[in-house]
Amino acid sequence: MKRNKRILSLILWLSFLGLIFYFSVRLFIFFSNGRGIFNIIFSFLLLLAEAHSILHSLGFLISIVNLKKKGVNYHRHVKLDKNNLPSVTILVPARNEPIGILELTFISIFSLDYSNKKIVFLDGSDDDHFEENVKLANKYNIEYFRPLDKPKSKAEIINKYLGQVNTKYVSVFDADQNPMPSFLTETVGLAEYSNKIGFIQTPQLYSNYNVSPIARGAALQQSIFYENVCESKGTSDAMFCCGTNFLMRVEALKRVGGFDENSVTEDFATSVKIHSLGYHSVYYNHVRVFGMAPETLPAYLKQQFRWSAGSVGVLRKLFLAELRGELKLSLAQRWEYFLSATYYFVGWSFFILMICPALYLLFNVPTYFASPYLYLGTFIPYYILMSITFYATMKKRNYKIKDVFTGIIMGSLSYPVLIESTTAAILNKKVTFQITDKGKTGHVSFWKLWPWTIMIVVNILAISSGLFRFSENPYAIGINIFWCGYHSVLLLNIFRLNKSPKIEENNLLKHA
């Protein structure tokens, strides 16, 4: 055990060195690279893409060091007096959710082992859902709230009700989240430790992973995020609210004026404000809530679109607030927020990293690719060491390499959506995401998959061109053919994943 730890530490430090060495060489190559406008443009774009990847690799390595050094910080809690529990309002905002899904959530919340709670169903659904939703709320003795004007967002409906909240804490659950009985006793116990704790975030675990490959991939991605990434944010007091499965101090929420209605990721934007007021956040890495992953490709892409547009939108706001000197965050919090807000540029990064090998094979641009020795001596050690560190960390938490790879495939496939959403967010444009044909929600039509299809065709053309002139520079061309092949295989997964899920009888619904 000790030996394994030492080996992991060694790999970790080697990864740091590999990363620094690779980036230094890349900078040197960029400045001493060949001429030509296209060459300069693509070399610069490639450098930016690699810088993004290196930045986030660095963030990951720092998170591992953080966790090794500080450990997790949720051991401080207060034993609650069962006869004098702090009051909690539980909010369930929903919009046109299937009644069966809602009922499972209501049963779970109704059964929470916490007597001093009030449950409120915030209904933003269309009129045709009204009757059955009221009936369901009454069945479980849940207060029903429906604003006169139809709310445009989750933040808006919560804020509309917030004036009526007079409890110490508020807890929010999305309509498809089922908490376990001890959720409130544990989180309130943590929040009671200090009145400077603004909110407690818990992970969400998707338990419908076997419904479709999309659900499985999304569940894996989510789990990876809720492990190292969030635990590290927790140690830096920079864990942000994820919009569901959290407990928040009402005073803190009211002081920031409720949830930020100008952001599609209201939770993320509100967290920055709460931290800026000097409140702390706690990440409690114990699964106390089970939820549902998006089951279809359109649902998954829509989720990615929303998260990325929201995060990058917050980055813009953070930048402006920093310029005005309004951002009162610690250095560690700034770093963590910067990492989270820039993560979704991964779509651009992946696109550039994918197009460059193809451009080299087709047009000899960028010329840097013509020097395979530098590439082999710097990129390969960095890539291998980073991969080992990543997989070793995941293996320690019982993830299989195959599963982690599934998560990576899903992340890579989102690139056209991420490009669209981040561009809209930078330009401060409100764009809604629509990829399915009207009336069809299960899968995306073949023609709407054109960004992936075109990229596959480009890669195949590049591979053919490379094979024709292989003898010119076998090492360089060989490596780039390999990358084009790898990217094509990765992209072909879009057709495998674009299937409607198997409709199986849901055991849970049967019980409800």
Partner: protein, 82 residues
């Protein structure tokens, strides 16, 4: 006072019934699925699933019992029930 107490007792019985009858199967089903992430060997996972089934079965029995308790309570406190 008696009226209030009756309501409270009935509410608690009802809450217990919802938990035994409806919530336990939800928890149990989620935990069964979550075993996938546990990294436990398959034979151990199977054992856990078996135990979960036993607990679910017991919960059904508890729910039936609570139903009897509720009915008896309602009969004996008829005058206080609204």
């Amino acid at each position: 006072m008696k009226q209030e107490n009756t309501d409270l007792v009935l509410q608690q019985i009802r809450q217990a019934r919802v938990k035994e009858e409806l919530a336990i199967p939800i928890y149990s089903s989620h935990i069964r699925q979550a075993l996938f992430w546990s990294g436990l060997p398959l034979d151990k996972q199977k054992k856990i699933i078996e135990r979960l089934k036993i607990l679910e079965y017991e919960s059904e029995a508890h729910a039936d019992m609570l139903k009897v308790v509720e009915n008896n309570y309602l009969k004996t406190n008829k005058q206080y029930v609204q």
